[in-house]
Amino acid sequence: MKTKFSGFLTLILAFVVQITFAQQQSVTGTVADEDGLPLPGVNIIIKGTSTGVQSDFDGNYAIQANQGDVLVFSFIGLKKAEYPVGASAVINVTLESDAAQLSEVVVTALGIQREKKSLGYATQEVDGSEVSDVPTTNFMNSLSGKVAGVNIKASGTMGGSANVIIRGSASLTGNNQALFVVDGTPISNANSNTSDQKTGRGGFDFGNAAADINPNNIASINVLKGAAATALYGSRASNGVVIITTKRGSKGKGIGVSVSSTLMISDADKETLPKYQKEYGAGYGPYYQSDDGYFNLFDVNGDGIKDETTPFTEDASFGAKFDPNRLVYQWNSIYPQLDTYQQATPWVAAKHTANDLWQTGYTSINAVALDGGSETGSFRLSGNNTMQKGNLPNSEIKRNSLTFSGSQDLTEKLTAAANVTFTKTDGKGRYGTGYSSGNPMQQNRQWSQTNVDLYEQRDAYFATGENITWNPNGPDNLSPIYSDNIYFSRYENFETDTRNRYFGNFSLDYELNSIFSLAGRFSFDTYDELQEERINVGSSDVAKYSRFNNRVAEYNYDLILSFNKDITDDLNLDGNIGANLRRNSQNSLYMTTNGGLNKPGFYSLSNSAGPIVTTSFPDPDTEYDATSMIDGVYARAGLGYLSTYYLEGTIRRDRSSTLPIANNTFWYPSISSSIILSNLIDATWLNFTKLRANYAEVGSDTTPYNVFNTYAVTAPFAGAGVASNNSQLNNRNLKPERSKSYEFGIESDFFNKRIGFDVSYYRTKTEDQITPVPVSTATGFATKYLNAGVVENKGFEVLLRLNPIKLTDFNWNMTVNWAQNESQVLELLPGIDNLELASLQGGISINASPGQPYGSIRGTDYVYDSSGNRIVKSNGYYETTSTSNNIIGNVQPDWTGGVQNTLQYKNLSLGFLIDVQKGGDIFSLDTWYGFATGIYDQSVGLNDLGNPKRNTIANGGGVVLPGVTEDGTPNTVRARTDYYANPYGYARDANKGHIYDASFVKLREASLTYDFSEKTIGALPINNASIALVGRNLWIIHKNLPYSDPEAGLSSGNVQGYQSGAYPAIREIGASVKINF
């Protein structure tokens, strides 16, 4: 791919050079605005050619032109000006502001272009450069902190998914992810992660599908937040829409080439990794065979005398105090393959801890685009190559994509257009997640021995290629008991995946007359993916090979009639009537070997030790095959009066195959209006003020197969067929979900747009939620599909634009985003007190309960006296509740925000983004277990007596827990902290003790860019160029969660607020170069 591109590039370059060196005269001048201030970045093109330049920072330009040529000066928000080239070599130009241009045009639902000022609902636009200047492999992560009301959480693994929630979670258990639409094509943002993965039980995070969108192709992103904005999309858009408009060629501009290249170096942020104690080694406590109880006895060196050995099976560090003079037969002494066989080594802390696993990774993103146009058509062809080497050994993701977009006027009235993107993503060695051996953080954060040197483990693997683990069954049984050698696991038990994706659309637009136009569009989004997982023979888990073939497709057929007519001079009517047919299908096959592999390292289903078993039991199904269709008709009409008063209404009817026939058709309306107050107020300091209000209802269907009951057929037993009732009771009477929302907003610009704000208040009520409601299993079912509840989301969004300093050479722009969303469960069906979203390891659950914010965390709590003191039992430990249904936290943040700054001095600009989350709770399974295994620095140190905490009680160790005894007197009893059953870990603590505040303040992005002016590169055939130093996740300025990144999670989906084997934050620093020819 790369070589082809560079060949092509050479040709283009030669071509461009030829054009540029034709004989011409030099024209120079200055471009200024009405106030006389110089205008940088004005496009100056010789009419009818592709030749053009931009004015520099001082408004100066220089261009080669022939007499008789016409120079076209254009700048956003200003009127275009044309000046013929005469004898004079100097043309100074003043551009006037353009009222029409000022009313910015944005792309709204179904690709309908609207004047932004006429909209009665909130949208927030993000320029494409915001997601491509500091590129990431998943562009959604670049939106974090940039759009008010959009909450983005990256899962933290290489290529992992990003959870994108707009204005809170409206659906109790269904999809809460925003819809992505690229140039009119709805794009799947599903993740194919298993429910085990989403609930922390293991598996890989394969990312969500919208990551296939190439950030370098994005011209702009428009986020439609409320139902009124998205109502025309129908049921699927109830979670908001992210509309992406890609870059395209422009008519009459000739051929242009742009090249950009970025290289980012990445490293784990140490602040988000465990801090290990360095004083004590392996063990759970003093109960082994040696005299002091800390070591086992085994004759390792064969001299007939039993030697002290590490308790190999013990994945904890509550063992003997380190003592360099004590020689112990450790893991490296019992493997005959190693040089250290039968050698005792000093009992000391590891020189290289598990944190040394993290290596430097890199991401390179290279993009080339070619665009051009004639008088009747334009095209753009772009290619992108992304190569990411992860921060764990043997991990990488490669992505190549090609996009073509073109449009051609076939006649004066008929235009044909096409956009097609092909993306191929190949992953290898994605990080295992959750509580599984595939996740090295499981041992590193929860279960390990601080005496094990990671580099020695590494060298042992590379020297032998075998699973030489620190955690074997014993000197006489070297098979791993719980944990594998991490390097063995990374290099032998890796996954691979590949996804080929095609999406795009073909459309025809016909202008019937000056009022009507008709558009037909076919859009498609299909992908095929293959995910292969491996576990080699010799691992702690049963060896296996599995493959998941998944084919997903969506096809949309749209027909839209649009009209626009000035009824009188003051009154304008515009609108659309249309029909949409949508077909979604998924067809997948999951197969896995059974009972192990016969030939080690050979990954094929044919290598299965036992006969392969297929099953229709859920997750993953062996086979899944579903198609759904929704047919919709809709209409929209908008009235504009005096370009000041606007009113718009929409209505849509959908019919969905996922609902029972009797209830499968649903209607929903929206109405919105706006008033441009600034047109009524004559004040020079006020540039623009708009009031807006809207009301909308949106209906929503469900996923296939929730209406009729089925059986799960499982593997036969001794030749007898086996089937069981599914644990989900389906519902023949489901009806569509309905959300009703209203929104008010005001936006304003003052003082020559030096200050601007946009504030929205919204309230959305989602009724008749279609939800699999967990029921008492005494009913024979685990869940029942019901129209179960009402959830309300309400909140404020504030967008503040400031331009505190504006000088000739220096400019400072600041954008502040702030959003607060309250998501509350108003009611569930009578008799249902609580809806459990997920029941998670550690005995906690994430819930939606009436009167509570969505996402309450339930688990065990401490027992308190009437004044709120924790009660301590007579043995010195806290009393904890016997019940696990106490509310101990909530995953919803209080508010989120971002502050983006751009400081520009001449050609140099500095941008940085601070991203803030306040509140929200997280349960850490990592400290829940890790505090019981004594690996963290928290487990050592001195107690109130000045003695080491880890001394026995008799030796003055232990801690006095703050609290009161049953009779109300302060506790004075010391609790043991020298073994696993200390008061802080899972063995004795309440779940509540491991709930942390997930607040953070992060320096999310920074970039330092230098734009080469025309002067510098005038001699080169280059239109403009820039180089930049960029960084992401540079600094966690503040957080309250110890040892971890409060943003780290499991996957996209509804289970948030839980960490199990969390991955560290990854800091990226790099440089990028952009050149436009």
Binding site: N296, P774, A778
Partner: protein, 473 residues
Amino acid sequence: MKKYFLTIIALATLWSCQTDERYENLNKDPKNPSEVKADFLFTSAIVSLNDQMATPNVNDNIFRFLAQYFTTTTYLDEPNYDVNQRGITDRHWSELYRDVIFDLQDAKSIVEADSEITDAEKSARIGQLEVLEVYAWSVLVDTFGDIPYTEAVNATEFPLPKYDDAATIYSDLVTRIGAASTDLEAGQGFTGADVLYSGDMDAWNKFAHSLQLRLGMRLSDVNPSLSKSTAEAAIAGGVFTSNADNAQLQYQSNPPNTNPLWEDLVQSGRADYLPAATIVDVMNNLNDPRRATYFFNETVDSYIGGVYGGSNNYGSYTHVGEAFLDPTLPGILLDYAEVEFNLSEAAKLGYSGAGDASAHYNAAVTASIEYWGGTASQAATYLTQPSVSYDGTNNQFATQFWLAMYNNPLEGWSVWRKYDAPALVLPEDTGNPIPLRYTYPVNEQNLNQAQYEAASSAIGGDKQTTPIFWDIK
């Protein structure tokens, strides 16, 4: 202008006009059937029931810890009777209700609606389904006490099922198991799907009566008259007469149809379980010949059990016997030894037809030793020991009964609860009391709260130390 509107509206309407049938068909899952034969459900229920009774997995049940046959090496929550951390009671509850009882009841209605089989065949099949259902209900009562019964497994009518009194349920089960025998005699039941007895209806009848005997004897303290009539009916009907009659599932060599013990002892590659000192010490004192099968001295020279509920170093103790590492090891629902122990107790209580208490005791011990690979002469020698030779004491009887139930651990725990012997120990780590029942599932607290609270107060508190109704001594 109008014509454009009309055209587009007409087109749009036409376009979106699909038949109802087409919509509905799309919503029918081609990969999961909406109908199956009762045979499939019957087999599934047998396997699910056996799996739940046999598994030692700390996510599913803790029977082997409750009977103190096993303990663990490193992770001590479950042998210390923490059932909430892993939602053990939730899983036990849902397995039995959802994957056993519901499938059995569904199978019954499919059989009843089946026009291709005779009424006699229907009765026989319903009899087979009924025996298993009574078994499953009794397991639920024996573990929890009061449970949803009359309103259970009816999600449409009773989404929040109320709990019924355990003693009343037991009485009903006694009636039902009696009626099941009559059904079984009507004709030929399931054959190919019958992975317990391959359609041997005589064997099923013995199983029904043996279960009837178990239920009867369970009631001996709390309801002597019902106990007597039930046990006598069982004996008259004909119970197991040899190990060949055992209700046990022959597991297969390949997953997922292996004995669940194999999954956790062998396939997992872990070393979590050890025989507990509680049983090892008793057997050492009795010089029990079954030790060679029950245990395996892999790393030590003599039989040493792990400290119950305390931290144990795997290599320092006796391991679980090799027979239990075989994936095909049968899972036991009810065996001949248990029947003989129950007959012995019935005889002791003077139930008619029960015969001689001592003879049944000897037969029980012999059956157990022989089942686990011992010889008749080993059994005879064992029985001559003063501490083993039948003396009619509660402690001796219960100890032998308990030893014989090593691979039917729920029964082992029930023996301890009913006879209050042998002496079990408090778990080393926490000293928590040995449970007399499971606490109700956490899910019931969250999802069926009102009924849960009513039940909780009815039994005198949802605690592990609240006894089951038959455990009055």
